[in-house]
Subunit: 488 residues, 2 copies
């Protein structure tokens, strides 16, 4: 449908010219997303949704392998339930959608459209959990959530978005904390291995933690424009919700105790990260594991040889399909050049060109989207070559993104130094932080940078930090290295 | 968690005593569902959701195989969009949830939480479709929808439910009609083959068709209590929506034309049908294709042999898991009898018992949930036996349900005759109908029965109808045989 779209984007604005416009051009031109008549809500079109489906598959498998089961809780949360946990309501109430009428009647109690499901899920857990034998409860939900955003941006910040949210209950804080770290690792593994995006796992500062959590952990990724993106969060809720929702269990020692809880989630926001980490001025670049089409066949069909080439192309398609490759044959009545551009724009990892001369030589030409490299392959070597090449592309896309992150990770010993880096180069800035909110806020006020997280791997972080362990703002002794950055 | 549930259902009420209570007991005791603090909204618990996931897999595969792609459209629909198609708004406005506030602000235009997505999707199609080359558009969506129901019942009628909704656009009415019938057949195939539920495909009367459709087709199933359940619908929307949403394309003949549309959907309601068709007074009965656990191993462990039996049980579990069977080993510290009841209640198709004497004889015992049959199988024959037995159970569950439907399909030549059947025996009543609403309404007023559909296979339907082709109410000549029944 693309070239008949009323809003057809003729060219992709270059990243240098306008990174923000580039992003919008890429996703609209690749038909991943479209604006809807509802303020702040996007339509995820089939090509974008197919990427989300591949992501869901990879995540869902990992979530189940770690012992969790999926369930589904109501979209609506009664106002009184949301209000039970004080921090939680304070954090979310300003950004929820309110349902006030059902049919023709005004509701006796307003309902919020879930911005997250702690409140509704806790109300059920208090019914389901009675004994230590009922623990742990390990449940995940795939759902849509709504947060009334003032400024929106497709995938990155939309009023409605899709996500998974895990909600677990445990006997002890140790078990809960173990779960929090386990799921953070699941996210790291998924984002690095399936999305080819390197991330820094770490703890959030108190200011940046989830409304109602005792502690929040995140994985943070660096976009090509030098801004950070929070790519997944895992929260230790301690007993905050258990106490207000009365979730208790009779322990082996016959004592009634409150459970310890966690929650964790990633969302369609990650698709925004995928685009901003890998793509270029020609359009999308998709890692093979998530590409709806991994290889597109473009037949070169001079009039005389048309049928012969198309026969061969169909044969190749069937062969590759049987080998488990997501393959598409572009037999549209368009020039090869048009097709090359079109599929590059859509980020298909490999293009296979085949024409009469190739058939004569019993070969095909492969062109990599990530590097532009051309590879001549004998027909009978094709399957074997692809078996190695697709994982290689996946790996090299990760390596390239990792190199970019490393190249854009800096050290600053003072606010002035940090401001210079943040305003001129952006990127991750490693520095010491005393743990006080004033010092964190100073960076926000001066340069719109926030603490992304305090890396779990402090040994590695210290290598990136100034030698002297002094807080970047107040100069007092500091124990931890934090990463500051501007963020989406 | 079951036996610690505050709302633990001790016994399942028998179907004879109270079919309605039986249904609720079964789904709550099997932990498929629970009531939520939100009026009319249910929580689908992990065991119920796993069944939905298996159903989604089977349906999604078929939907994709027939050329459709998934996408995602916004949850909210502006009031003005819903109101564009007159029949549509009249049908849905009385039962929608209204969002009136976002954050702390009152919205300038109210939003409805989607009861179905025709309006929002049509508004996008009018942007995307320009030329005949853009057609057909074949999109499906998996989503939650909300309809403000006065009286609710888990799975069967809830304020929020989960479903898939297909929305397609075509050049001609012929193509649209072909799509409508193709998807009805996809539903029939899925419901009969995966759910083991026989259905009657047919056309709805005008009174019962979808709000905004030119014609609606359904598959209708018969529950054990003799009431019908609409198990899936497929609508020909003709150009009704295309005209009000201005969805036009430039045809090859350079004429601007309106597209022809269809929509079709099935929902979590089907899970209610699954329960009501197959289960009994001991609880659920699940067909192997949808059972989250296909076989449960219950080890018989007298003290002395405990370790030896458990070792063997683990070995069997690993072997069956590798053979692709969804297997669970129940090694809880409970009596075998308790476990037998527990898993029967949850509908697991096969139980495998293994104890010291079985091991001595190198055999295991299989017990079928559907028939109660006990089968002794030599260990080395187990895998082979299961490979045949699971499909056999699937088939025999279908056959049993088909026999029930046939046994409860009746013929009536007059309203009195029909009333006697409907009130005494219920079931499907085949009869002639002239096509007028008055005659259809008479049945509703006298015996709360409606026309379920006008079977596509009129030849077969005529075999079930009175010989004389006269309308059951007015006695005028009739051309079609309809099925009347009370329905959920």
């Amino acid at each position: 449908m693309s070239n008949k779209n009323k809003d057809f984007v003729k060219e992709i604005t270059s990243r240098e010219e306008d990174a923000s416009q580039w992003y919008v051009d890429v996703i609209r031109k690749a038909e991943m997303v479209d604006y809807s008549p509802v303020r702040g809500c996007m339509v995820i079109r089939p090509y974008g949704y197919a990427i989300w489906e591949a992501m869901k598959d990879g995540l869902d498998r990992r979530i189940k392998e770690t012992g969790h089961k999926n369930a589904y809780f109501p979209l609506f949360i009664p106002e009184s339930l949301l209000k039970k946990e004080a921090d939680h309501v304070e954090g979310f109430a300003p950004e929820v959608a309110w349902v006030t009428h059902g049919g023709n009647e005004e509701l006796t109690e307003r309902l919020v459209v879930r911005p997250t499901s702690e409140a509704i899920i806790c109300s059920m857990y208090s019914k389901w959990i009675q004994s230590y034998r009922d623990l742990p409860v390990l449940i995940n939900q795939w759902a849509n959530v709504v947060r009334w955003e003032k400024v929106t941006r497709p995938f990155l910040r939309t009023t409605e978005f899709l996500w998974q949210e895990g909600h677990t209950a445990h006997r002890t804080n140790e078990e809960a904390q173990e779960e929090v770290m386990k799921m953070l690792e699941v996210y790291r593994d998924f984002v690095e291995n399936d999305m080819a995006i390197p991330v820094i796992p770490g703890r959030k500062s108190d200011r940046e933690k989830f409304a109602g959590a005792a502690s929040t952990y995140s994985i943070e990724a660096l976009m090509q424009d030098g801004k950070a993106l929070q790519a997944g969060t895992s929260h230790n809720l301690a007993q905050h919700f258990a106490k207000v929702f009365d979730i208790t269990y009779l322990d082996e020692d016959s004592q009634l105790k409150h459970v310890h809880q966690t929650s964790w989630g990633v969302s369609t926001r990650l698709i925004g990260g995928l685009i901003m980490v890998h793509s270029d001025d020609r359009g999308l670049k998709l890692p093979p594991k998530l590409a709806p089409i991994q290889l597109v066949i473009v037949p070169i069909t001079p009039k005389k040889a048309r049928e012969m080439v198309l026969d061969k192309a169909h044969e190749l398609k069937a062969m590759l399909h049987d080998a488990g490759i997501r393959v598409h044959l572009d037999d549209r009545d368009q020039s090869p050049g048009f097709k090359y551009n079109d599929w590059e724009m859509r980020g298909v990892p490999l293009r296979l060109e085949v024409g009469p001369r190739d058939i004569e030589k019993d070969q095909v030409v492969l062109v990599r989207r990530d590097s532009g490299e051309k590879i001549f392959v004998a027909m009978d070597q094709l399957q074997e070559t692809l078996k190695e090449l697709l994982p290689q592309i996946q790996q090299e896309m990760y390596t390239a993104a990792k190199k970019f992150m490393d190249d854009n990770s800096f050290t600053a010993a003072s606010m002035d130094e940090m401001e210079k880096i943040i305003t001129e180069k952006r990127g991750f800035v490693y520095t010491w932080w005393c743990g006080h909110e004033e010092c964190e806020l100073e960076a926000k006020e001066r340069m719109s940078a926030t603490i992304r997280n305090i890396p779990l791997d402090q040994e590695a972080a210290k290598q990136m930090a100034p030698k002297e362990a002094k807080c970047i703002h107040c100069g007092k002794p500091a124990k931890e290295v934090a990463i500051f950055a501007r963020a989406y």
